[in-house]
C-alpha cells in the first residue's frame, strides 16, 4: 500500500507539472522539451498507478467499481492527493 501511495503522489505531481508548467512553456515560449520529458514520466507513472490499483483490488477484494473509479480519478488533476488520504494505511 505504501508503494501505491508513493506512485499516486508521483503521478499527481507529474500531471500538475505537465499541465501547469510544461504545456504553458511549450505554447507560450515554444519550448517543447519539458513536455517531451514530463509526458512520458506522467504516462509511465499513471500505468504503474493503474497496475498497483489492479493488484491491490484483487488482493484486498475491492469491488470492481471502486477500482475503476480510483483509476479514472487518477486522470483528474489533484484527485490523487485525495485518493492517497482515502487509502488504508497498511
Amino acid at each position: 500500500m505504501l508503494l501505491l501511495r508513493a506512485v499516486a503522489l508521483l503521478e499527481a505531481i507529474a500531471f500538475l507539472l505537465l499541465l501547469f508548467v510544461a504545456v504553458p512553456l511549450k505554447h507560450l515560449t515554444g519550448t517543447p522539451e519539458p513536455v517531451l520529458v514530463l509526458g512520458p514520466v506522467h504516462g509511465i507513472a499513471f500505468l504503474a498507478y493503474a497496475w498497483l490499483i489492479g493488484r491491490e483490488a484483487v488482493d484486498r477484494s475491492w469491488p470492481a467499481g471502486r477500482a475503476l473509479w480510483l483509476i479514472i480519478a487518477g486522470l483528474i488533476p489533484l484527485a490523487p492527493f485525495f485518493i492517497v488520504r482515502s487509502l488504508p494505511a497498511k
Binding site: P40, A48, A50, R55, E56, V58
Partner: protein
Amino acid sequence: MPDYSLLKILHAIAATLTVIGILMSAFAVAKPQPATKLAAMRKWDLFVTVPALVLVWILGVTLTIEGNWFPSGWLPLKLVFVLGLSALHGMLAGSLKRLQRGQPAPAFLRFAPYLVIVCVVAIVALVETKPF
C-alpha cells in the same frame, strides 16, 4: 541516444520475458498450485516480470517518439491490448498474493491464460502488418 534497432531488440527481449512471466502467473492462478511453487512464482514475478514490464513501457514510449509512430492508426489499438495485458498482470500479481495466504483467486481469472494468448496474437499481428 542508443541506436533505434538496438532499442527495438531490447524492447522485444523485455516483451518476451514479460509475456512468459504473465503466462506463468496465469497458469499458476488458473490451476491450483502448492505453496512452495506460489512463493517461487511471486519471486520470479517481482524480480523478472515486473522489471521487464517496466522496461517494455519505457522502451515502447522511447521507440514511439524516436520512430514518430504517433500518427499511425495501429498503435492506439496495440496500446489497448498492451494495457489489457498490463492490467491482467496487476490482477494476477494480486491473485498470487491471495493464493499464498490460502484465499481463492477471482473466478474469472481461470480464463487468464487464454486472454494472454489473445492479446499477444493481436499485438504481434498489429506490429508486423501495421494494417492502418
